[in-house]
Amino acid sequence: MAWSNADRVRELARLVGIPLIEEEISEVADRFESLMREIDRLMSLDLADIQPLTIFPEEE
């Protein structure tokens, strides 16, 4: 059976130990889904040769 967005968020929160307020779960799910969708837009980028470095301004 496919999970609803709310179920998925509820389970993720349980796993990371973050208690959620039941009546706010749909809002957390909307925010989470939106973030995942936005990040999905980065999937088409070729990032294979890029390292996730910290950036300091002096660096070129």
């Binding site: 968020v9 993720l12 929160a13 990371v16 130990g17 973050i18 208690p19 959620l20 307020i21 706010e24 809002e27 957390v28 909307d30 925010r31 989470f32 889904e33 939106s34 973030l35 995942m36 969708r37 936005e38 990040i39 837009r41 980065l42 999937m43 980028l45 990032l47 890029i50 390292q51 996730p52 470095l53 910290t54 950036i55 300091f56 301004p57 002096e58 070129e60």
Partner: protein, 475 residues
């Protein structure tokens, strides 16, 4: 000079009036305190006002003036700081009930340096909870925009924008993680600078996200911004990340010609489908002004910039949630609902997603640095639309698409500079037909604040926007 007229002066003009004995520090402080008492019950710019402390400091400054002491360019100027900077013996709430009783025993370095410059602290300014932005119900009062009370003044340095636009302080220091200084500056038609990352100490500035937080001078004019930046910038042994690069006299470049400077309009931000048409036109108009001043204007492409909002939230919110793990586990009920659900959602982001966002950030930096080899200054709107109504900002989200439209989109405009550690400034860039402010954003190479301020000053002096007074400031 009438009392209110003293409060309408810029910081530089105030210091000049004090040095030439046209006004005393006590008169100036009294002028601001009187306005705060009269107007702030409605505006909610301040969380804490310090009348006794400010008056005592003003009397001391007055004595120094009479003794002919050494006065710097900000001597006697009444300032206020975002309530995110620690102040010894003074409540520092970070805009959150979690810190409603927090009274630090040390000052933030920014507060110390403002005092060393001879400024007088009027109080602590309102902000979005934990400097995150998106607060629906500010625990210490919802700040109102002096240009239109039913519109937001921007976030998270809301109180700084409001206090400057309503002339409730002469200058301020806010904080800018992803646009928290520039956004309110745009909404309130004042100046807000995000300096190069590491240019200003963050010691005892309560963090939102360590890789992006920057103390942000917010002022009535570009000249004031140059003065405040010089006062607070520079290496601080208490913040090992601060740069050791020398701090120049940022005022020295003001008034120099911008003829021949290369200005690049960021195509992906300017031509985005969702930018408000009057904001887009204001940027085109600004480019004409800069061209008229002798700058060489061109379009520049930064392909990834339209996704900067997503990258920023993917990295910064995740960092913020990680840093607040204890709060999320044990004290989340004390947070505003919007702050709580935003942090909770970010706490669930998988490591592979965070990693991808971090890589995209590096690619974005490469694209910005490549653009900066072709131009000296980048131009865009600060915000893609004018300040929305409070009711729009505080309305619950209606779904994931609504989150995207209201939450991610605008963050691309300011978040891109935070992600890339580059300096950027928002200056008054005009008004909509409904008289709502529009912010013009300029960006520059690392540590090129002098050039940034040079161009900002040239534009400011060639346009009338900075001289307009918010309707509520006359109240």
């Amino acid at each position: 000079m009438a009392r209110d007229d003293l409060a309408f002066l810029s910081a530089a003009e105030t210091a000049d009036a004090i040095q030439t004995k046209q006004a005393s520090p006590l008169e100036v402080v009294q002028a601001y305190l009187s306005r705060i008492e009269r107007l702030d019950a409605q505006l909610h710019a301040y969380i804490t006002v310090l009348p006794e402390q400010a008056l005592t400091a003003a009397r001391r400054a007055e004595h120094e003036v009479m003794c002919g002491g050494d006065m710097g360019p900000l001597f006697g100027v009444p300032v206020a700081v975002k309530d995110q900077f620690w102040t010894t013996g003074i409540l520092t709430t970070n805009g959150s009930r979690l810190y409603r009783d927090f009274v630090p025993t040390e000052d933030a370095t920014v507060v110390t340096r403002l005092a060393e410059a001879g400024t007088i602290l009027l109080g602590k300014l309102n902000l979005s909870e934990l400097a995150m932005g998106g607060t629906q119900q500010n625990p210490f009062g919802i700040p109102h925009n002096p240009w239109a009370l039913d519109h937001t003044p921007g976030e998270s340095s809301s109180g700084s924008g409001v206090a400057l636009a309503a002339h409730l302080c002469a200058a301020s220091v806010g904080e800018d993680t992803g646009g928290s200084g520039r956004g309110p500056a745009a909404c309130c038609s004042v100046v807000g600078l995000r300096p190069t990352y590491t240019r200003v100490s963050r010691h005892h500035m309560t963090p939102m996200c360590w890789f992006a937080d920057a103390a942000a001078p917010m002022t009535k004019t570009v000249r004031d911004c140059a003065l405040v930046l010089r006062a607070i910038a520079g290496y601080d042994p208490q913040d090992p990340f601060t740069s050791r690069q020398p701090v120049p006299d940022y005022s020295a470049s003001l008034g120099q010609s911008i003829r021949g400077l290369r200005i690049g309009m960021i195509r992906e931000l300017q031509e985005h489908d969702d930018i408000h048409p009057q904001v887009r036109q204001a940027v085109y108009d600004a480019l004409e002004v800069l061209r008229g001043l002798g700058a060489e204007v061109q379009e520049i492409s930064i392909p990834l910039v339209a996704l900067a909002g997503a990258i920023f939230v993917g990295v910064a919110d995740t960092e913020g949630a990680g840093a607040r793990d204890e709060i999320l586990r044990h004290r989340a009920a004390e947070l505003d609902r919007a702050s709580r659900t935003r942090l909770q959602a970010a706490a669930l982001v998988p490591a592979k997603v965070y990693n991808r966002a971090m890589k995209a950030r590096v690619l974005l930096r490469q694209q910005f640095m490549q653009a900066m080899r072709q131009v000296d200054i980048l131009v865009s709107a600060t915000m893609p639309y004018p300040p929305p109504k409070h009711t729009t900002v505080t309305a619950p989200f209606t779904g994931a698409d609504d989150v995207r439209t209201r939450f991610f989109f605008r963050r691309s405009y300011t978040g891109c500079y935070a992600l890339t550690a580059l300096p950027a400034i928002s200056i008054p860039g005009g008004f909509t037909g409904d008289h709502l402010p529009i912010g013009l954003q300029l960006g520059a190479r690392p540590f090129a604040e002098a050039q940034l301020l040079q161009v900002a000053y040239a534009y400011e002096q060639a346009t009338p926007w900075h001289a307009r007074r918010a309707p509520f400031a006359n109240g």
